[in-house]
């Protein structure tokens, strides 16, 4: 397998065929209802997985309204249940369960001329845009030591961000206790004495550290300031009990990172397939290896992979994927490389794969894991990337803790509603993020934690594979449907003592 030479742009199929999408899903229901031994053998109503993955894919590209999908699935399950009345009792599954909307039955409401997807949260567009423009991002890179009874450690401030949703630090924690060696906050967040810190601004106003924005004890990196400080403060003094305060200078605001933008013009279908491919690539490390890569025996991974052929056919029926697109062939190659059979992709595998995919595959196929040479530490960042598909991405810190690496980002803009489904992709963050380290290795960034507030989401992205060396710089590659952005960022690592 070779790297893609020049990655040729693919014809965009902007005018999607929503009737074609709906017809495809209904025709699939007919095929499934006719029944095949394979479909009948799966748990739940026969063919459920096929219907669900295709329905979710068509919702993801905006070709099917979630309400329409829910109705089709509800009718399908009604048809199945009527046929099973005197047969084996099936496991009841409702459309509502899948769509997580909490409705027990398909709503029968008039919706002629309804838009294909539900609009995101409404807000005065001007006000939101103003707030995004007036946002302030500052790289910090300061360590605040603390001691609270038997607990001691460091609060490592990576960056400060102030947006319409409020002010917060992105931070890492180093925590020591008599029973623990140094831990960096991932494992024992309950030990962190948030409420014992004091924060004072240049006018003498006092604030408290507030862990509630993420409301997630497994995610102590997002620390709000309460009350919300005014916009034009110059500095903040952050102090642990009985310790001298550490001054955080807020004047040098983070600049837009020097970045290059290039058009990609992926069709919605290609973009979805790329997201699915990256999901496969980042799923893989969780599974045991036995010589070659081995996938799990069951679960959503299997269902998604087995549905690739149906998904591709559905995307073509909806006119969101050209039959000439090279992406399905790359997906076939990826499946073959990961030893995944039964994907149903009709086209032959491609000889070329994107360079980041190859880098990750090469990592997996090494017989011995890289020896970890990177101590727990962090690099301060506050770099905004050019807007991509209506989303403005700001990088707020890079952290390496206990063998795991994470990139903290803030995404602002009009993003689709989250739609949980069997494909296990996040529709509300439809960007592909990769990092290339100064050693030339690529790392995929997979969403790990997300806090959504209005038009912005603070996200912790876990790097797969994690960093193994204290790299001097990283190149960030953020890919959307219309373009991709590349920005090279120098890194200055800091390590808790």
């Amino acid at each position: 397998v070779l790297p893609v030479p020049g990655a040729p742009a693919v014809a965009d199929t902007e005018d999607m065929d929503r009737e074609g999408a709906e017809t495809y899903l209904r025709l699939l229901a007919e095929t499934v209802l006719r029944g095949s031994p394979a479909a009948a053998a799966e748990p739940g109503p026969p063919g459920t997985s096929r219907m669900m993955v295709v329905g979710h894919a068509l919702i993801a590209v905006g070709a099917l309204d979630p309400d329409v999908t829910e109705e089709i699935l509800a009718d399908f399950w009604l048809a199945v249940s009527m046929r099973q009345l005197h047969g084996e009792p099936g496991q009841p599954v409702t459309a509502a369960q899948w769509l997580s909307q909490g409705r027990a039955a398909p709503p029968r409401k008039p919706r002629p001329g309804a838009p294909p997807t539900a609009p995101p949260e409404s807000a005065p567009p001007g006000a939101d845009a103003d707030q995004e423009r007036s946002a302030r991002f500052v790289p910090v890179g300061l360590t605040v030591p603390f001691r609270s009874g038997a607990i001691s450690g460091e609060l490592c401030l990576m960056s400060f961000a102030r947006t319409g949703a409020g002010a917060r630090f992105v931070a890492a924690w180093g925590v020591r206790s008599p029973s623990l060696e140094l831990q960096s906050g991932f494992q024992h967040p309950g030990l962190i004495p948030f409420d014992e810190f004091t924060v004072t601004d240049d006018r003498g106003a006092r604030y408290q550290l507030d862990h509630t924005p993420g409301s997630d004890l497994e995610w102590p990196n997002l620390i709000g300031l309460s009350p919300d400080p005014p916009q034009n403060i110059r500095w903040l003094d952050v102090a642990a009990p009985y310790r001298q305060a550490v001054r955080v200078d807020l004047r040098p605001a983070g600049d837009a990172a020097p970045a290059s933008v290039s058009d990609t013009t992926l069709s919605p279908g290609e973009h979805l397939l790329v997201m699915l491919a990256e999901r496969l690539l980042t799923w893989t490390p969780g599974f045991p290896r036995s010589g070659r890569l081995a996938g799990p025996p069951a679960g959503p991974w299997r269902a998604m992979t087995a549905g690739f052929g149906d998904i591709i056919a559905a995307l073509e029926a909806a006119d969101v994927l050209s039959p000439l697109s090279p992406v399905p062939a790359r997906l076939a190659t990826l499946c073959a490389s990961l030893d995944l059979n039964g994907h149903g992709i009709a086209v032959p595998p491609a000889r070329h794969l994107p360079e980041p995919w190859l880098s990750l595959l090469a990592h997996y196929q090494r017989r011995r894991p890289d020896p970890a040479q990177l101590r727990d530490g962090y690099a301060a960042l506050a770099a905004s990337l050019p807007e991509l598909d209506g989303i403005r991405l700001t990088l707020l810190g890079l952290q390496h803790t206990q063998g795991n690496s994470a990139l903290h980002v803030l995404a602002q803009g009009r993003t689709p509603e989250p739609r949980p489904g069997p494909l296990d992709i996040d529709l509300s963050f439809p960007l592909s993020i990769w990092l290339r380290d100064s050693g030339g290795r690529w790392h995929a960034a997979r969403q790990d934690r997300c806090h959504r507030a209005g038009r912005e989401s603070t996200i912790r992205l876990r790097l797969v594979p994690p960093l193994t060396r204290p790299v001097d710089w990283v190149e960030v590659l953020a890919g959307g449907r219309s373009a991709e952005v590349r920005a090279t960022l120098p890194l200055h690592w800091r390590y808790p003592s």
Partner: protein
């Protein structure tokens, strides 16, 4: 070139009837010329008025109401049998069991009682509204399921006739959404595909998954072509949506080893049909004669050339 006959879609169909448990006995329900008739209830409308005043509603009357609710419901085409020979078997015991389960009410999540210093009136009102909406939606879903079971329990003859009525209700207006906003063309394309596939299997021995059907919307009867070989073999069929009502629901789809593509005229038990001997051939006009199926067979007519 064919045209859509002016006569109703059901002219090739004989009446059919069944008995249902109603009150203390069994009553006859009859379908004839597109209408459902309750032989044992002389004035169903008056019974409905009495029921509204607190009287008990007769099951025959409930069935007639359900029939009326679903006579233009596209869900019938997505749920009902694709092949009369493989009808959905529902008994009146199933209907009774479903009805009793529904009378148990719907489980609405409840929380333990809490004492509050000042009752949050707005929150209580919102919770009550949510509860009402949940009950309403659950009630509609339950009613719909009970309707479906009752109508299926009438038997295969009624099942295919109701499918015919629904198809006929939409065959002439493919471009308009139905009352729930569903894309009619999508539903009818899938309905055609699902019903044609088993017919084609019996006609040619082809794998039903190799049949690709589409709605023919131009003048004429459509087209039937065989393409490809082996696993790539496809039977490409394009037929008007009327085919579902005039041909399939009337039991004419496969008559005398011919695929019937249109009905030129009919008056039970005789019909003049346009039929294909083989894919790609020119259709020929044939006379068909119908008879009731042998005793114990499904309640659809049997046709001979």
């Amino acid at each position: 070139v064919t045209r859509v006959p002016n006569e109703p879609w059901y002219t090739p169909l004989p009446p059919c009837e069944t008995t249902v448990p109603c009150g203390q006995g069994r009553h006859v329900i009859r379908w004839e010329a597109g209408q459902l008739r309750l032989a044992s209830h002389a004035d169903p409308e008056a019974e409905l008025v009495l029921a509204a005043l607190g009287g008990q509603k007769a099951r025959c009357v409930e069935i007639a109401e359900a029939w009326g609710r679903h006579v233009a419901d596209l869900t019938v085409l997505t749920v009902w049998p694709r092949d009369p020979a493989a009808g959905i078997e529902v008994g009146w015991d199933d209907v009774d069991a479903a009805g009793q389960a529904d009378q148990g009410g719907w489980a609405v999540p409840r929380h333990g009682a809490m004492r509050l210093a000042s009752p949050p009136t707005a929150a209580i009102a919102m919770a009550a509204a949510r509860r009402r909406r949940y009950q309403q939606e659950a009630g509609q879903a339950s009613q719909r399921r009970l309707d479906m079971l009752s109508l299926l329990a009438l038997g295969t003859g009624f099942q295919v006739r109701l499918s015919g009525q629904v198809a006929a209700a939409y065959a002439g207006r493919l471009d308009e959404p139905d009352e729930h906003g569903r894309n009619v063309r999508s539903v009818l394309t899938a309905a055609l595909s699902g019903r044609l596939a088993p017919v084609a299997e019996r006609w040619l021995g082809i794998d039903p998954d190799q049949v690709e059907a589409s709605l023919h919307q131009e003048p004429g009867w459509g087209s039937v072509e065989l393409a490809g070989h082996g696993q790539q073999r496809r039977l490409l069929v394009s037929l008007p949506a009327w085919w579902l009502a005039r041909v399939w629901a009337c039991g004419l789809a496969l008559t005398g080893r011919h695929l019937v593509v249109a009905v030129e005229g009919a008056c039970w038990p005789d019909a003049r049909v346009l039929a294909l001997r083989a894919p790609g051939a020119e259709p020929v006009s044939l006379s068909a004669h119908g008879s009731d199926g042998p005793p114990g067979s499904v309640d659809t007519p049997h046709w001979e050339i």
